[in-house]
Amino acid sequence: MNHQTKVYESIFEMLPSEENPTPLVRLSKLNPRAEFPLYAKLEWMNPFGSVKDRAAWALLRDLESRGELGNGRGLVEPTSGNTGISLAAMARARGHRLLAVVPNKVPLEKKVLLKIAGADLEVVSDELCPAPGLGDGSINLAKTHAKASAKKYAMPNQYENTKNWEAHYETTGPEIWRQTEGKITHLFVTLGTCGTVTGTAKFLREKMPEVKVIAIQPTEGHDVPGLRNVSQLGVSKLFDASLVDDILEVDFQLAYTRAMDLCQNEGLLAGPSSGLVFSGALEIVARDRQGFGVMIFPDNIFKYTSNMIKHIPGLDSGTQP
């Protein structure tokens, strides 16, 4: 493995670490305050395409090291997005199968992507009129498989497994600390399983307790893939409120318009969750006026063309002869 020449014997050698961090790129046009530089951490530069590589690898390695996989036993996980893609591709490359349990409302292109990455797919009916706090159909179905067919399935459980946040404590946090030479004052992240915020914030707070951790969430009723509003956080056991200074609620439409801004002005082909993070970061830049911000950009725009068409008026005009 040589990170200088970038010649690797296996795709897994490319996974991020302090020695091989994902890039930090400074925003040059869209940030109005030179006294508060904003750097985007480009998680789509991970080998399987998103920030979820970190947790997926930690979860998979944990199961392997405990002898939980093999002899006909694969994985089952409720996932509709990046975790599934990372986990499926990694698992298949290491000789395991993944059954991804997916809500029906997930767009066709994502279901197909999961299959391309090597997942077996089980699609569940959407929740009809869910009561708050009672979980989600895909999580419960995955748990059912793991409980009823334990010889066939092990469930990593990204929503509850501490290996998820530990991955960020061991990689994302140290990378940012080293890359910014300890200058970071503000960390900007979105919330999903909450592994990223908990692990990264925990590491950075240990290095410098005054680092501000800003979590950005879309307004309720949003359709930004992979993210959760605080009202939906009950499903994640990894959220630690003591590590978060502010939770900003940002109009979810801005996830799409800001992503478009990033694509067209900064050359950053960022996805909607990155657009949301950026939108929240701009609010804090205006409020705090000075600092050194790092924004975690979870993935790029390529999976989201249909979402963008839905939210950016006129985007699909001129696409037909």
Binding site: N104, V124, C129, A131, K143, K147
Partner: protein, 282 residues
């Protein structure tokens, strides 16, 4: 049990675990999406599909008495069995099944408090993907007891607030007409809103954070004091297709002991499509 009027119709998951293999007990999981049953169910439970096995497949109606007898006979259930029902979506469809069992006169049918979610999340409870071995029976039903069911003419005839309580158990957005049905649902209606005079008490008001029913004291406070349901009057519960309202029907009739409670299973998909029927919004 929590001072309910008819505690005998509700069993806890621990009780089910202890009584699982007793000869007079039969378990039935009722789901809208039977993938859950196929993936794993309580050992010995048979699975009923609400859409294909509890609904008449030609006209819009509950299954006939003959179909009910065949369904239960094929499931190895006899009229003298204690039948425990549980299911997905927080027991809505199991509650609908309970209502159907009562319409056709099954004496001892009970609901498992908290449904399959509660069982799933308890570490000492087993699940299996193996289907039980069934010895079919010749089931003979009685009824139907139509005093449990409200049909459209009765709903149109009643004057809510004066002669009866009408309880709309749908979400607030369905009640106000902001949406006609929850997103993505295929069963819908021509208009949004609610039946004039109905009180909005969403089904989930009756359960706690683990999906089990609230205590009788809490339920009385919610339905009688806060929402103004008059326990001395007849009551009709409705939702969109009659399954969430079965859940509230169960609460009002068996946990709170109201005398005359009916489930209007035609619900909003019927009422909201009637030409000329009065509708309120907000």
């Amino acid at each position: 049990m929590a001072n309910y009027s008819h505690p005998e119709v509700l069993v806890e998951t621990d009780w089910v675990k202890q009584n699982l293999h007793k000869p007079g007990i039969r378990l039935v999981e009722i789901d809208v999406d039977t993938k859950s049953y196929d993936a794993g169910h309580i050992p010995g439970a048979v699975g009923f599909n609400w859409q294909t096995q509890l609904q008449d497949q030609v006209r819009r109606d509950i299954i006939s008495k003959e179909a009910f007898e065949k369904l239960l006979g094929d499931a190895g259930i006899s009229p003298d069995h204690t039948v425990i029902l549980y299911g997905d979506n927080n027991n809505w469809f199991a509650a609908y099944g309970f209502w159907l069992f009562k319409i056709y006169g099954h004496k001892d049918v009970r609901l498992m408090n908290g449904g399959r979610i509660k069982w799933l999340n308890e570490s000492d409870k087993e699940l299996t993907a193996e289907r039980p071995k069934i010895v079919p029976t010749q089931y003979r039903a009685s009824g139907p007891d139509l005093s449990l069911r409200a049909l459209l003419p009765e709903v149109l005839r009643r004057q809510p607030g004066q002669t009866c309580n009408l309880v709309d158990v749908r979400s607030p957005d369905e009640f106000t007409g902001k949406v006609i049905a929850p997103p993505g649902m295929t069963e819908t209606a021509q208009r949004g809103g609610h039946i004039p005079g109905a009180k909005s008490v969403p089904w989930s008001t009756a359960v706690g954070s683990d999906g089990t029913f609230k205590s009788a004291d809490e339920l009385q406070k919610i339905y009688f004091q806060e929402k103004g349901v008059d326990p001395m009057k007849d009551t009709v519960a409705y939702c969109r297709i009659g399954e969430r309202s079965s859940h509230t029907w169960f609460v009002l009739k068996y946990l709170l002991g109201l005398n005359n409670v009916k489930n209007y299973d035609g619900s909003w998909t019927e009422y909201g499509s009637i030409v000329g029927a009065p509708i309120e919004k907000n």
